[in-house]
Amino acid sequence: MSIVRKVMVVDDARVVRMALRGIMKKMGWEVVEAADGREAVSQLEKNPDLSLILLDWHMPEMNGYDFLVYLRSKPEFSENPKVVMVTTEASMPSMLQALAAGADEYIMKPFDADMIASKLEQVGIVVEAS
């Protein structure tokens, strides 16, 4: 039996959250969701045992970048959970900015399950076949 790991999917588009939820559940993950950075903050308080966050950039209220900066400013979250940006923001400067702020990987939308699995391997998460 493998340990069920928990991922938070943060995206203001419900359809994207559903797609990511489907992919992650198939890989055996427990999924929590947030529709913007502010919701992500309160989900983080309720779920300090997250091992991964899939994080959109552009969202109302608090955007993904600001949430990332907030997350990494907390000593207990300085390295974990791992953060993979999942965004339409597809420019090199944005990537560098996210990496500097503590993102571990970066996915430019659109994505598919193989791409997610490939990026999780990059951050040292072994993907188990569903």
Binding site: A90, M92, M95, Y106, M108, K119
Partner: protein, 274 residues
């Protein structure tokens, strides 16, 4: 597709590319050749074969070979061969040789040779001078793509981490272009592994210390597979290493090889060339 059509195609592909298709690969032929039917505005696959029978050296013939031999590739495919290269093989070879020469023998769109270039560049500051990578393939369209070094957003997100992307690529509109430094380490050339003269044509590159020939041997008949490995052996230094696909085993070759394990990778060390 009529049986005689499929039989002709199988025979044609073996003769021109060494690709040995089993009876079960009929679906593959049908799916891959749909594009040719469309591009040439022909009625169906039977019509493609009628054209092939008239002229086996035509543009259409070349397009048929290319559509059947192109494989999906990605950066860092299978990962462990590149870890093995970085941690074991390259350091061992560079201790003995001033320059490291690597041949990617079925490189398709170039992801494998550029991955090798990234791996080697991380190992040494003077990689451009000390490493030489040659990528070869039968497919001219794929080779032109590889040589241009421009990949789509989807392609650079398969196998490649964001840190490699920002370090070794530059943004080219919606695409991503390989840095000139990596491109300077890699050279591309058309080569047919089942043709003695074609394989001999890379003699000018010197003998290779490492050869990647992965996921291509499976397409050849057992006899042709042995001949391909023997041809490759003639272009290698004794003591050099050959990476094959995980399930591709060297059989009754004239050349002699020892199976070795380096890190997570099982590969072959050349003891005596053919």
């Amino acid at each position: 597709m009529q049986q005689s059509t499929y039989d002709f195609l199988r025979d044609f592909l073996v003769r021109h590319s060494g690709l040995a298709l089993s009876e079960q690969k009929r679906y593959l032929v049908e799916t891959r050749l749909v594009k040719i039917v469309r591009d040439y505005e022909l009625a169906d696959i039977n019509a493609v074969v009628a054209e092939l029978r008239k002229n086996e050296k035509s543009k259409l013939a070349q397009d048929v070979i290319e559509s059947m031999t192109t494989n999906e590739t990605m950066f860092y495919r299978d990962k462990h061969p590149f870890e093995s290269l970085a941690e074991h093989i390259a350091p061992e070879m560079l201790e003995r040789h001033r320059q490291l020469r690597v041949w990617s023998a079925a490189c398709s769109r170039g992801q494998e040779p550029y991955t090798i270039a990234m791996v080697l560049d991380k190992l040494m500051p003077d990689s451009l001078r000390r490493c030489r990578i040659v990528g070869t393939d039968l497919d001219e369209v794929a080779l032109r793509y590889a040589d241009a070094g421009v990949y789509t957003q989807m392609e650079v997100q398969r196998g490649l981490g964001v840190r490699d992307l920002v370090q070794y690529f530059e943004q080219d509109n919606v695409n991503w272009k390989v840095h000139n430094k990596l491109r300077g380490m890699v050279k591309f050339q058309k080569l047919n592994l089942i043709d003695d003269a074609s394989v001999a044509s890379i003699r000018g590159e010197g003998e290779f210390h490492v050869v990647f020939c992965r996921n291509v041997l499976i397409y050849f008949s057992p006899e042709e597979r042995c001949r391909v490995i023997d041809r490759i052996s003639k272009r290698m230094v004794v003591g050099g290493y050959l990476f094959t696909g995980a399930t591709e085993v060297i059989g009754q070759t004239k050349s002699e090889w020892a199976p070795v394990k380096k890190g997570q990778s099982r590969l072959w060390q050349l003891l005596k060339s053919a």
